[in-house]
């Protein structure tokens, strides 16, 4: 892919992401005028408007963008690593592990007083899943076979889902409801501290993945070819697996299981610009950021004050767009 075309593509996507962020700050469940929003950002005007814009809407828009970016970078990497177009950030059981952690914390009676317990429990659950899947995959053969890794991820995920159902069977109704809300994924709990935590994972994580992009390109062709062409295949697999999993874990821990974004944005970028991972990873991240902040804005305004599950809106917006894109490519 030529440098000029890549730069143009990234510029367009950056503009789209910035536009999406602006739109999601502009619109919310409470309708505020443009002037009121600008005033609120500067910290003047009605105290409730300032609180709404500065403490609720802005961090939520930014967190949506970061989660979208993390899931997209993670999904793109898994698709290369597993050479499977159906791979998404959750395919190797990260979401299952996180859900077991979160649901257990909820059912064991974590109260609203402890805001960080559930994200921490989810993150620990995700880490356990990452390690267990890797251990199982390494039990077979001398090296890490990505086909075995995929199988290990799927069975571990299935096992964790069974654990969740078991825990929920004995949960009281309130915990049950809270757990289901968590699993549907939501950005309603967004805060600046969560934004910083996410950024702490997203920025280095994405940079690592971009530096590995050449290896991932070769990897997508085949492991042997990649090895012949000088890629440190084993190291690439470990680093890619670890980084993509950590990105997904951080996103899931802070926002629950938000589906579809991580699966679809890499494909959209591939359909429009081709599958050079040096471009695809940053581009998919930007597109994911734009998509999720935009769909979250829709999720909280369409039926306000009821919030729709953001995963539902993402699929409702994303699927028609993707089908249109596929048709256009086919024509």
């Amino acid at each position: 892919m030529r440098i000029g075309r890549a730069a143009a593509g990234l510029a367009i996507l950056t503009a789209v992401a910035a536009g999406a962020l602006l739109v999601s700050v502009r619109f919310g469940a409470v309708s505020l005028g443009l002037g009121e929003i600008v005033d609120a950002i500067r910290g003047v005007g009605a105290p409730s408007a300032v609180a709404i814009v500065r403490d609720l809407r802005l961090p939520r828009a930014v967190q949506a963008a970061l989660v979208g970016a993390a899931l997209s970078a993670s999904g793109a990497t898994f698709q290369a690593l597993l050479r499977n177009p159906l791979a998404d950030p959750y395919i190797l059981g990260v979401s299952g592990g996180a859900a077991v952690g979160a649901v257990s914390a909820v059912v064991l009676g974590v109260s609203i007083a402890q805001a960080w317990v559930v994200p921490l429990a989810a993150f620990v659950g995700a880490l356990v899943a990452i390690i267990v899947v890797l251990r199982i995959a390494l039990m077979v053969g001398q090296t890490l076979d990505t086909r075995i890794l995929l199988l290990a991820g799927v069975v571990v995920g299935a096992f964790f889902n069974a654990c969740i159902l078991l825990v929920l069977t004995f949960a009281d109704v309130e915990s049950f409801r809270s757990a289901i809300f968590w699993m549907m994924g939501s950005l309603a709990g967004a805060s600046w501290s969560k934004v910083w935590v996410l950024a702490l994972y997203l920025v280095p994580g994405t940079l690592v993945l971009i530096t590995m992009a050449r290896s991932l390109n070769l990897f997508a062709i085949g492991e042997e070819t990649a090895a012949y062409l000088g890629t440190p295949v084993e190291r690439t697999k470990y680093v890619a697996y670890g980084t993509a999993s950590l990105l997904a874990a951080a996103a899931v821990a802070l926002s629950g299981v938000i589906g579809f974004v991580g699966l679809i944005t890499p494909h959209v970028v591939r359909l429009i610009w081709g599958s050079d991972y040096r471009f695809l990873i940053p581009a998919a991240s930007l597109l994911g950021a734009a998509l999720l902040s935009l769909t979250d804005a829709l999720a909280r305004t369409v039926a306000a004050p009821i919030e729709l599950p953001v995963g539902v809106v993402t699929a409702f917006v994303g699927v028609p767009f993707f089908v249109w894109l596929l048709r256009r490519r086919g024509a």
Binding site: P47, A51, V107, I112, A115, I164, L168, F181, G256, V257
Partner: protein
């Protein structure tokens, strides 16, 4: 990705279902509460003059500079308590699940567990009553920095009704109204209980779902209400709050009366129960001893537990009277 079958339900039915099932704890606890008047007021009067501080049901100390003037209630039973305390005019926001006509004109902030925070902040409350059990909600972390007090309320069983009255009346500086309300409820419940003394005690099963059968366990609010209404649960030995049981076991136990919530989704089934395999083996079905109760009565441990107990008592009595000799 995990996709539980129940999550795919539409909002109202999830809510209705969850609304139907908000209860826990044992009849013994209630009787103890009936016996001991008053109880200790949590941390009352620690702060000077107008400031109010109460420990909430999540163990968190809620401190307000003055009694709450603008309240958003995310817990429908708390809304009912506030209205009963005569503080309905201080409610500035409610949820979509509130049914009290007194607050119908207040803006809704969406669901109780997933409110729209923007809408909530826009009504400028000084106190938010939230679910104590709502785990993943970071409501407190988000609202307290904005100067909004968050009180986590436990609302599961009949003892929680008295806890809610005590805490909420203190938060809105209506302690004496709270005392009056609590003793009135205690008196009326005791009267209902007394009115059934001497009658035979029917065994009753409350079915919240029929396919598969989900019944109220002995630790639920419903089982407590049954006890007050002069009945006993046919499943005193079940673990968990709302366990799923087999139809075989239901047939084996032959409860005297089946009680179901009055829901559009269940009424057609009740109509054809006599012909339904398994269900037709139940003597209660053959005798027509199947009772339906408005779900809102059996779902909310609030001041209307009195009505719930009274309605249940009367309908059970009627069903047993109708029974062929």
């Amino acid at each position: 990705m995990f996709q539980p079958c129940r999550a795919s339900r539409t909002r109202p039915s999830t809510a209705a279902r969850a609304g139907r099932c908000l209860w826990a704890c044992a009849l013994l606890v209630l009787l103890a509460a009936l016996g001991c008047h008053g109880g200790d007021v949590p941390n009352e009067g620690r702060a000077p003059s107008t400031a109010v501080s109460v420990e909430d049901d999540a163990g968190h100390l809620v401190v307000l500079p003055h009694p709450a003037r603008r309240v958003v209630s995310l817990v429908p039973s708390a809304t009912d308590v506030l209205v009963a305390l005569g503080a309905g005019d201080r409610i500035v926001g409610r949820t979509d699940y509130d049914t009290a006509p007194e607050v119908a004109d207040r803006p809704s902030v969406g669901g109780g567990l997933d409110p729209s925070l923007e809408t909530l902040v826009a009504v400028e409350p000084d106190l938010v009553i939230a679910w104590a059990e709502a785990g993943p909600s970071s409501l407190r972390g988000q609202l307290e920095p904005l100067g909004i007090g968050v009180f986590g309320l436990r609302s599961q069983d009949t003892t929680d009704v008295f806890g809610a009255i005590r805490s909420l009346s203190h938060l809105v500086a209506r302690d004496s109204a709270g005392g009056v309300l609590a003793s009135r409820i205690r008196r009326e419940l005791a009267a209902i209980r007394a009115s059934t003394v001497g009658r035979p005690i029917p065994s009753v099963v409350y079915l919240v779902e029929v396919d598969p059968p989900l019944v109220a366990g002995p630790a639920t609010f419903v089982a407590q209400i049954m006890g007050i209404a002069g009945a006993r649960t046919a499943f005193p030995d079940l673990p968990g709050l709302w366990p799923q049981i087999s139809l075989e076991e239901l047939v084996r136990r032959q409860p005297d009366v089946l009680v179901l919530p009055e829901l559009a989704s269940l009424t057609p089934f009740v109509a054809r129960m006599r012909n339904a395999p398994g269900w037709r083996e139940l003597r209660a079905v053959q005798n027509g001893s199947v009772v339906q109760i408005p779900p809102e009565l059996m779902s909310r441990p609030g001041p209307q537990i009195v009505t719930a107990a009274r309605v249940l008592r009367d309908r059970l009595h009627l069903a047993l009277e109708r029974r062929p000799p």
